[in-house]
């Protein structure tokens, strides 16, 4: 039983660390908020954008005097696309850091933490996940449209404008991937198209050849990629390697730096949410983080700004006291926020609407062909 003493020692160490970690919440003057993001794993590229956007917003807020005189501090947590890690992070933010608000991202992690948010009356704002099931949840606000809007646009574009009427799909086997695939099946069907086959793959996989070979054998006019993060570029490259020559398509989910660099993804048809790569924000981001900004950088910049405005309002109403409930009421009463991507109006279902662009990937950029305006 030589293992036992070291086991006891390890336990003591762990217990010791917990005790040391606890007093961190004691410093009270700054306003602390959370941000649970994909900082590692297949979506780490989104994480760079999201964290960068939030960081830039927090610095601007602090440079102009903070929120009602309080400094804003963002605590970043990593969910690595894993719902259980998101839950741990949320528990820590709620119990240790006592935040009134947290940004969140991805559909499965956001759905997993929403009950904790509602129970503790902490507002969570999702600027990245797009599953339809994220709508109508207490204390969860989405400053991004749900995926069915975008999928509807691309499905109609493919069937009506491009006359591509039969599709095969490769689907990330998680909440977001499956949801987007189902929506595509419906909307593509409604536009006169037909999905011939679908193959599900793990989000963290790196070899998709068997699945792609199977889809290739089914034929079809088009390969629809219902996945996101770095594996989109691997799927695109491996598809071309296997001699799959039909066009590929996806939503704004596929637009990560790896995809822009991938040879296989050239010509992919995509939807895109409004983001101007030549804006002052994008330039500042590039100077600071040495990488091109993306749509999600703006999203988390906006989410932080929305919080700042709502928090100031909440504190004014409640005599300087900031609570999650106060933030929620302020978001509801303000309703419309000015953001870098134009006016953002929260809908009754706690989601947002935006313009959606459609185009083709070419030379590392999306060449926009048309813009579908947000419903009035």
């Amino acid at each position: 039983m030589r293992i036992l003493p070291s086991f006891v020692f390890a336990l003591t160490l762990i217990a010791g660390m917990t005790v040391v970690a606890a007093p961190a919440a004691a410093q009270s003057s700054p306003i602390k908020i959370g941000a649970i993001l994909p900082l590692t794993g297949s979506g780490a590229s989104y994480g760079v954008w999201m964290k960068g956007g939030a960081e830039m917003a927090a610095e601007e807020i602090n440079a102009s005097g903070g929120i009602a005189g309080h400094k804003l501090e963002v605590i970043y947590e990593d969910h690595a696309a894993d719902a259980s890690k998101a839950v741990n992070a949320m528990q820590r933010l709620v119990e240790v850091e006592k935040v009134p608000f947290s940004m969140t991202s991805y559909s499965s992690p956001t759905l997993a933490i929403q009950p904790i948010a509602a129970q503790h009356k902490v507002v969570i704002m999702n600027g990245g996940g797009q599953s339809d099931s994220l709508a109508n949840k207490p204390y969860l606000y989405n400053n991004i449209p749900v995926v069915s809007n975008e999928v509807g646009v691309i499905a109609t574009y493919l069937a009506k404008d491009k006359k591509l009427l039969s599709a095969v799909m490769i689907v990330a086997n998680d909440e977001a991937g499956r949801n987007s695939a189902e929506t595509f099946r419906d909307k593509f069907g409604a536009a006169g198209g037909k999905v011939l086959a679908e193959e599900r793959v793990a989000l963290d996989a790196t070899d998709f050849r068997a699945q792609l070979a199977k889809l290739k054998a089914r034929g079809g006019d088009l390969l629809y990629i219902s996945s996101y993060g770095r594996n989109v570029s691997i799927i695109a490259d491996q598809a071309r390697e296997l001699g799959i020559t039909i066009p590929m398509a996806g939503t704004s989910w596929v637009l990560v730096p790896e995809t822009f660099k991938s040879k296989g993804a050239e010509g992919m048809m995509v939807t895109k949410l409004p983001f101007d790569p030549d804006s002052a924000f994008a330039k500042k981001f590039k100077d600071r983080y040495k990488t091109n900004a993306g749509f999600f950088a703006v999203q988390y910049y906006s989410a932080t700004m929305i919080f700042a405005k709502a928090a100031a309002e909440a504190m004014k109403k409640n005599g300087g006291v900031l609570t999650g409930e106060g933030v929620k009421n302020a978001i509801e009463s303000i309703g419309t926020f000015d953001t870098l991507s134009g006016k953002l109006v929260f809908q009754a279902n706690h989601g947002a609407v935006m313009d959606i662009e459609v185009g083709t990937l070419k030379d590392g950029k999306v060449q926009v062909e048309k813009v579908i305006k947000a419903a009035p």
Binding site: G41, N173, R200, V201, T206, R209, A210, A213
Partner: protein, 294 residues
């Protein structure tokens, strides 16, 4: 039929990596009876050595690969020298060795994740990444290199064990450690040699993975699990058995997708393993489980 051929070819390519991994693990297990799961860490380390040599030191691909294989061989020897031999000297039982090995695997994986981040890293392969078409089958050149490496690795290992003095010593220890000791073979030195050879033969699998789809810190666990399954299916102590077991698993995993949805991939292979091992506990070519033979 085209699909079947494509899936079989993909299976063969994946199988080459499984074979290399299983050959190394099987040689080590058959000779030392160490359930060396840290072999997975050596496999991953080899990939990171090669990646670091090419991307961080800027060495040419061939030099990076050769250097990584040598470094992996030394890593395997170090594990035996610093972990297993001291444990054995103090009379540790095999389970303790296995737990130590598991601990080491976890440790190395986590350190790699801290240094290199958990995202997959891919080496530059230049023209090896170009497509080749063989009838209805599409591959890239690198895949042909993988298959060739597995074939060469297999025959080189067989020849080494059969014809070289050191190889014969390994076989002697593998078939009967007591007898080998009586005739004056130094068991510790043979173990060290086995770790060097076993690590060197599996290292290319990790490196080829880094060249093809990229290496991640935790990838070794999957590979060592598959390698141990392949070795047990093939019969402990049998080198051809290990290779056949590995090839069978890879083909099953890929061809299985032909008629069954692909999320069943690993369920199929491990299901088949369970059925196989219940029906034939000694594996394909294994004679006795305990005193293994090569």
């Amino acid at each position: 039929m085209d699909l079947f051929l494509q899936l079989a070819a993909t299976g063969l390519v994946v199988g080459s990596l499984y074979i290399l991994c299983a050959l190394g693990w099987g040689l080590i297990y058959g000779t030392t009876l160490h359930f060396h799961v840290a072999h997975g860490a050596v496999f991953t380390l080899a990939a990171y050595y090669a990646y670091a040599a090419q991307k961080l030191l800027g060495l040419p691909l061939a030099v990076a690969v050769a250097g990584a294989i040598v470094a992996a061989a030394f890593s395997g020897m170090l594990i035996d020298l610093l972990i297993y031999q001291p444990l054995e000297r103090r009379g540790a039982i095999r389970t303790t060795l296995f737990i130590a090995s598991l601990g080491l695997l976890t440790l190395i994986e986590n350190v790699l994740a801290i240094i290199f981040k958990p995202d997959p890293l891919r080496m530059d392969v230049g023209w090896l990444g170009d497509s080749v078409q063989l009838g209805p089958v599409f591959l890239i050149r690198l895949h042909l290199v993988s298959v060739a490496t597995a074939v060469v690795g297999f025959f080189a290992l067989m020849a080494f064990l059969k014809y070289s003095r050191w190889g014969q010593a390994i076989r002697a220890v593998s078939s009967s450690p007591e007898m080998a000791r009586t005739v004056g073979i130094d068991l510790r030195r043979v173990h060290l040699l086995t770790y060097a050879v076993g690590s060197a033969i599996s290292a290319p699998a990790g490196i080829l993975l880094a060249m093809d789809v990229g290496v991640e810190p935790y990838r070794g666990t999957t590979f060592v699990l598959l390698a141990s399954v392949a070795v047990i299916m093939g019969g402990i102590g049998s080198i051809p058995g290990a290779a056949l077991g590995a090839l069978f698993l890879a083909l099953l995993e890929n061809i299985g997708v032909w008629k069954i949805p692909s999320e069943w991939q690993s369920t199929i292979s491990f299901g088949a393993f369970l059925i196989f091992i219940v029906v034939r506990p000694r594996g394909l070519f294994g004679r006795k489980i305990h005193s293994a033979e090569i």
